[in-house]
């Protein structure tokens, strides 16, 4: 039917325009990063380079030590992700399946924390880190991220659906709670663990304000902080900054593209609150 064909065409047209708008900045970013120095600052602006050059990427790795910042970001993101998986899943499971005094009250208290802007805590947290001698250290960046209220919520939401009979049967067999957790619960919640792992990795990699505050030695900078630092110095070097942006975004983009099934599922589950 032509009516439905026309509607379909309209829909696809809108989708296509939306896709172009969504991707255009990043296409330009990659494109400009391959342009020779100065070509991105011409009028009229070019969308594609006249000649492709990798000189900026080379410069970033040799002259500007981006490899080091890359490793910093990777190490910190992996550390936070691995620890928080364990810590958050234990707590999330406990809130979902273990009965204990004050469970609901504690949970509600935890929930209030979600409304508090995280920046409120940053000033005293910095002073606390100083007392602990953790300023300008990797641990200073890692530790505050090791447990997250959102992560606990996510795990709890998913763990609620574990059949109680399964757990009770194990208890009847005399298994300890930790055994039950390790052998029954964890395998069951692997999908949400995957989601949480990706989520934590992405948000730790992308984190900016706290590493900016805590790290003063540039050798320890994470990529976003190093990038902002470079941007302050190399405002004129458009192509170089674009290459830096590409390198910063690339890992999270790859993680997302390959594992998006889990990530998307997690977002949708995360919207289900109870």
């Amino acid at each position: 039917m032509t009516g439905s064909r026309a509607v379909k065409a309209l829909l696809y047209a809108q989708l296509a325009v939306g896709a172009v708008l969504a991707l255009l900045p990043m296409v330009w970013m990659v494109s400009a990063s391959l342009m020779p120095a100065g070509e991105a600052s011409t009028f009229p602006p070019r969308l594609f380079p006249r000649e492709v050059t990798f000189e900026h990427y080379v410069a970033l790795f040799t002259r500007l030590h981006l490899g080091r910042y890359f490793l910093n970001s990777a190490g910190i993101a992996l550390a936070v992700t691995s620890v928080s998986l364990l810590v958050n899943s234990m707590a999330g499971y406990a809130f979902a399946k273990l009965r204990f005094r004050g469970r609901d009250r504690t949970f509600r208290l935890l929930a209030t924390g979600l409304v508090v802007p995280v920046q409120v805590a940053m000033l005293p947290l910095f002073l606390l880190m100083k007392q602990l001698g953790l300023v300008n250290t990797y641990w200073g960046v890692v530790i505050p991220g090791m447990a997250s209220i959102f992560g606990i919520f996510l795990i709890r939401q998913y763990a609620l659906s574990i059949p109680d009979d399964l757990l009770d049967a194990a208890r009847m067999d005399g298994a300890g709670e930790l055994r039950i957790f390790g052998s029954i619960v964890l395998p069951t919640i692997v999908p949400i663990l995957a989601t949480l792992a990706i989520w934590t990795f992405l948000s730790t990699w992308n984190d900016f304000m706290w590493p900016l505050i805590v790290l003063s030695d540039e050798r320890r900078y994470t990529l976003p902080v190093a990038l902002a630092n470079l941007a302050g110095e190399h405002v004129q070097d458009t192509e170089l900054m674009m290459a830096g942006s590409v390198l910063t975004i690339l890992p999270v983009m790859l993680v997302f593209l390959f594992l998006q099934r889990y990530y998307v599922q997690g977002v949708m589950v995360g919207s289900v609150k109870g």
């Binding site: 190490g75 550390a79 691995s82 364990l86 003063s216 320890r220």
Partner: protein, 423 residues
């Protein structure tokens, strides 16, 4: 569990990264230097010579953009994560000194051959003396002078640049008459504090009174300078615009829509490259109320942090950078002016006619108040200056507001000083 194995693999990696970049061997010392802006880039070129002369000392230079420098420094001090040596804008020296972060360099200077206090311009040296102790060694100076169009000035009847305020105002009026109603002979961006502060201080007035406890802005001396500053706007000699509202001052200057600006040494390079060679331009010291006037003693110093573990090696680096030959090389790379007289005698600088005005001005420079709140205070000066210039307040109102705001800024300092004095 995968998480555990990943963590087991990652932690050693972190440890390695944490240890990386430290001292390579037991006898090799690494001095960490924080440089800002262009100077941070350039210092890396001077370092190889230093390392050659001092085997066993390596210098690691970290560059920090000026926009982030203040917060990075203070955060590092508070967090106990300071470098060994840093370039410090000299308005920040009192701030870090108040935090007890800087080493007292007086004893080191006494025993030093390279650093000779008598060779330094007094105004510049004084910017580093806080509460009687020397906290930094001047690295380069920055002061503000006139950049102008000698041809336009001559056409207005002034073959030589003016040296008094009266002559200055007269010259501007004449140039305005020749330029027309919507052109302004002098550009004084309303969001820049050096101009009103310098003019206010030219009468000899201090910005603060009572031992740095209160604002002194209603003092007749400061008031004279402030009124002169505001009058330039009110008379239509300067446009009431901020720096960001002027798209290209060099173009305006070249076209003759602008005849004078007050700015610093880095502009020598900018003017040389952006103003076409056929357009004449020159520099001159600031005119004062009754004769050649004073200007501001700005610039940056080299400081050593008390938390440093390599203070002796750090001092060697400071001495090296203070040597006249190194200062000359530094000037050639950055255009920053040396704070001591000896390098000025070299032909490179002595024969530079644009730098000559700076040389003359440097004998008449005055430091800002040596209080941690100095930068906040001078920012208030331009804010009130802007209000008065745009007609939003009278001079009396602006100065009264300035005193009020500065008194508020200094309230904590007052309390601490009073408490220490046992009042």
């Amino acid at each position: 569990m995968t998480g555990r194995t990943v963590r087991a693999a990652v932690l050693p990696l972190l440890a390695v990264l944490g240890g990386c970049g430290g001292d390579a061997g037991r006898d090799e010392v690494t001095v960490r230097f924080w440089g800002m802006g262009r100077e941070g880039e350039v210092v890396a070129e001077l370092v190889p010579e230093f390392e050659r002369r001092n085997p066993g000392i390596r210098v690691q230079v970290q560059q920090i953009p000026w926009t982030a420098a203040h917060e990075k420094l203070l955060t590092a001090v508070v967090g106990g994560a300071t470098p060994d040596v840093a370039q410090l804008g000299n308005t920040w020296v009192p701030e870090l000194a108040a935090l007890n972060a800087l080493e007292d360099l007086g004893p080191r200077v006494e025993g030093s051959a390279a650093v000779d206090p008598a060779d330094y311009f007094p105004g510049s040296w004084d910017t580093n003396v806080v509460d009687g102790r020397l906290r930094g060694i001047p690295w380069y100076v920055d002061t503000r002078v006139l950049f102008y169009r000698p041809d336009l000035l001559a056409a207005a009847g002034y073959p030589e640049p003016p040296v008094t305020w009266e002559a200055w105002r007269d010259a501007l009026r004449r140039m305005k008459a020749r330029m027309g109603a919507d052109r302004y002979p002098i550009l004084l961006p309303t969001n820049e504090w050096p101009q009103p502060v310098a003019l206010g201080m030219q009468t000899g007035a201090e910005l603060l009174r009572d031992g740095g406890r209160r604002g002194n802005f209603r003092d007749p001396g400061f008031r004279r300078g402030f009124e002169f500053y505001v009058s330039l706007f009110r008379e239509g000699l300067a446009p009431a615009v901020s720096a960001s509202e002027v798209s290209n001052r060099y173009q305006e200057f070249s076209r003759g829509n602008l005849a004078m600006v007050i700015t610093g040494p880095w502009e020598i390079g900018e003017f040389s490259s952006r103003v076409p060679p056929e357009v004449p331009w020159a520099t001159a010291p600031l005119p004062g109320p009754d004769g050649p006037g004073a200007s501001l003693a700005l610039g940056a110093s080299l400081v050593i942090f008390r938390g440093s573990e390599h203070r002796d090696a750090a001092w060697k680096l400071v001495e090296f950078l203070s040597e006249p030959e190194q200062q000359l090389r530094f000037y050639e790379l950055t255009g920053d002016l040396p704070p001591r007289r000896t390098p000025w005698e070299s032909p490179v600088l002595a024969e530079n006619r644009h730098a000559a005005a700076f040389r003359a001005q440097l004998e008449r420079v005055r430091p800002l108040p040596q209080v941690p709140e100095a930068e906040q205070i001078v920012n208030k000066v331009f804010e009130q200056g802007e209000r008065a210039a745009r007609g939003q307040a009278s001079v009396e109102q602006a100065l009264a507001a300035l005193d009020r705001e500065v008194d508020r800024i200094l309230e904590k300092r007052r309390w601490i000083l009073d408490r220490e004095a046992g009042r």
